[in-house]
């Protein structure tokens, strides 16, 4: 197997809560690898820590109130990003690791033309001249499928639709041909037909530019269509991690199973008022994770051990060892899964 491009180990990002009294353990011991050229889906509901994880990779966590705990480790190209000097870090941000955000409305600066904003990274990182950077911006707009790029380059963000703005965001992120693209809910604010366009665009660009994509999303449908591997997060931890086909064919963590059962499916047989199997209860607060397994209060299988002892990530791979891991005690007592609800 090839060497991972990005190696995240035991990442802990905590926040001080408003009263200054508590600590919100938003990301609490997350480890995963990102391999060259692959798309890794990071999935979970709001409050699971997926966005904080992605922001931590580029050290974009506001400090205070947030801080990345010592002992956390994020290795990129042989170097620990968490110990880099600010200047070295800036040389990586936007250049080798780029990021796109959910809100194409607020992520673009309204007072500059889209051309200026795309060119900026090229000027900063590659020391291109203004003229060369502008040519590059036009080239990027063309790459992301914006019609009339030579005219559009002088437009302001408000003159563009949401889908167009997201394309501009992608052009901005890719202008330096990064090795890693972190896409945080890139299609959540968009309509389905536009979402389909953007996902297709990302797929095409990834193939053309050979970059690795970390796709953060709450939408299991998006993951199924785009990701090679999936990391499922719950309550600040990775609860299951597997190649995409494996995860959807053989989900093992009760949370993954519940999540899959919650999604209304277009491919389900048509009958009005069919019941969805939701997950009872709700995500606990990050300042107050339950003891033991963090999912146990909502888990239909939980027994004493789940309440007392936090499970580690256990190997459940059928193929390559370590390819499918699950944070659940059920793996040690599979007979408990039978005859229970949830699937």
């Amino acid at each position: 197997m090839t060497e991972p491009l990005l190696r995240v180990r035991d990442l802990k990002t905590y926040f001080v809560t408003e009263h200054g009294s508590g600590t919100a353990r938003a990301v609490d011991g997350v480890s995963f690898d990102l391999y060259p050229g692959e798309t890794l889906g990071l999935v979970g509901e709001s409050g699971c820590g997926k966005t904080v994880t992605s922001l931590s990779v580029l050290r974009l966590i506001p400090e205070p109130p947030g801080h990345i705990r010592p002992g956390s480790f994020i290795e990129f190209a042989g170097r620990n990003l968490l110990t880099l000097a600010p200047r070295e870090l800036r040389a990586i941000r936007g250049n080798q690791i780029a990021m796109i955000f959910q809100e194409p409305m607020t992520s673009l600066n309204p007072v500059f033309t889209v051309g200026d904003q795309i060119a900026e990274a090229a000027i900063v990182h590659q020391r291109l001249s203004r003229r060369a950077a502008r040519a590059r911006a036009i080239e990027m707009l063309k790459l992301v499928g914006i019609p009339d790029p030579a005219q559009r380059v002088d437009h302001y963000p408000h003159q563009m639709s949401g889908g167009m703005r997201q394309r501009v965001m992608i052009a901005m992120a890719l202008v330096c041909h990064p090795k890693v693209l972190i896409a945080d809910e890139p299609t959540t604010a968009l309509d389905v037909t536009i979402q389909a366009q953007i996902l297709e665009l990302l797929e095409r660009l990834q193939a053309e530019l050979g970059m690795a994509v970390m796709l953060i999303t709450h939408d299991l449908g998006v993951v199924a269509g785009s990701a090679d591997r999936v990391v499922v997060m719950y309550a600040g931890q990775v609860v299951e991690q597997a190649p995409t086909p494996d995860l959807f064919a053989r989900p093992l963590h009760p949370y993954t199973v519940g999540l899959l059962a919650s999604v209304p499916r277009l491919d389900a047989p048509s009958r009005a008022r069919a019941r969805l199997h939701g997950i009872p209860g709700q995500v606990p607060a990050a300042s107050d994770w339950p003891g033991g397994c963090r999912f146990h209060p909502r888990c239909p299988y939980a027994w004493d051990r789940c309440r007392e002892e936090e499970p580690p990530l256990l190997d459940a791979s059928t193929g390559e060892p370590g390819s499918h891991t699950v944070r659940c005690w059920l793996l040690t007592e599979p007979q408990r899964r039978t005859g229970r609800p949830g699937s």
Binding site: Q197, G221, R265, S270, A272, V283
Partner: protein, 331 residues
């Protein structure tokens, strides 16, 4: 969907918003935004009509115009044969008891200065349904009905999660015992696991209370779980309307087909034809001539007629209406 058994019958609804004036009114005259352009449908008592479309298609405006939160420019909204749009004062207030709305944003739809109890007591007071201890009992019962502990009555909105707020919003709508609910994207702001809980709740309430729903959503997969009939909107017009099983199995309008194919399915092995529409939804202030969908239409038969002649919404199969010249030859 005959009008005779319909609880709610919407006929020729039109709402145009005056557009923004270019250059502080010195430029071109205002372009009118045709938010809702001749929309008609009927909902049978006890059934759910799913109203689907992308942002800006006018689906929310339809819901709000029916409740007269926005005054329509033309059309009729009949409830039990009574035209809502010509009612005034007292009669309108009485009718408001019979129809209610649940909003998308669980953060914006509750007054942050009121407790849950105050929020739910207000409609009871407005319509003189209950006061004092009687109101307290009814509030507790309402909270229990929507799956919340009556202890939540003392909470403020910001102390609740998104799903809990949405349940309070539903309880508020139910407090006046309506027959008809407009559900305006009631689950799209919620996490999937909570979304499933709320969808189940809505289905249960409909059965228990014999409610009629207009379920407005952008997500066809969600609508599939709750709607008996589905209407698809594009640029202020209904382009297809059919019983849900028909619409999902055999869509006739190319826009419906494209929309269905764009919905991601959580199954990596699914082999589905993917139609990726090009371009953006045009501005409703400047809708294309002819068929409003023609600039993005992937239909191979698209021709000059589509550019010039707006297709009428017509019955193309029993119970199924589509506004496409080539509805007989679907994609």
């Amino acid at each position: 969907m005959t009008s005779s058994s319909a609880l709610v019958d919407v006929q020729g609804l039109v709402k145009h918003f005056p557009g923004e004036r270019a250059f502080f009114g010195l430029g071109r005259p205002r372009a009118v935004v045709r938010a809702v352009d001749d929309v008609s449908f009927a909902i049978t008592s006890g059934q759910t009509l799913g109203l689907v479309g992308e942002s800006g298609c006018g689906k929310s405006t339809v819901g709000r115009t029916i409740l007269r939160l926005i005054e329509p420019d033309a059309g009729r909204v009949l409830m039990d044969g009574l035209n809502l749009l010509t009612l005034g004062g007292r009669e309108l207030r009485a009718l408001r008891r019979r129809m209610q709305i649940v909003f998308q944003d669980p953060y914006g739809s509750l007054n942050p200065r009121l407790t849950v109890r105050q929020t739910l007591a207000e409609p009871l007071a407005i319509h003189h349904l209950a006061t004092g201890a009687d109101a307290g009992r009814r509030i507790a019962a309402l909270l229990e009905e929507v799956g919340l502990d009556p202890g939540f009555a003392r909470s403020y909105a910001h102390e609740l999660s998104g799903g809990q707020r949405q349940r309070v919003g539903i309880a508020r709508a139910l407090s006046v015992e309506p027959q008809f609910l407009v559900l305006d994207e009631p689950v799209s702001a919620l996490d999937v696991s909570v979304q499933a809980q709320v969808l189940n709740l809505l289905a249960d309430l409909q059965q228990r209370r014999r409610l009629t729903y207009l379920f407005i959503a952008h997500d066809l997969a969600v609508v599939k779980y709750i709607a008996d009939d589905v209407a698809v909107m594009y640029l202020g017009k209904i382009v297809e309307r059919a019983p849900a099983p028909r619409l999902y199995a055999a869509p006739r309008h190319p826009y419906t087909t494209s929309l269905l194919s764009a919905v991601p399915v959580p199954d990596p092995t699914a082999q589905r034809p993917r139609i990726v529409l090009t371009g953006d939804v045009p501005s409703p202030a400047h809708p294309p001539a002819g068929c409003p969908f023609h600039p993005r239409c992937p239909h191979p038969k698209k021709d000059a007629r589509c550019h010039t002649e707006p297709p009428a919404l017509r019955e193309v199969a029993p119970g199924q209406l589509a506004a496409c010249h080539y509805a007989e030859e679907p994609l």
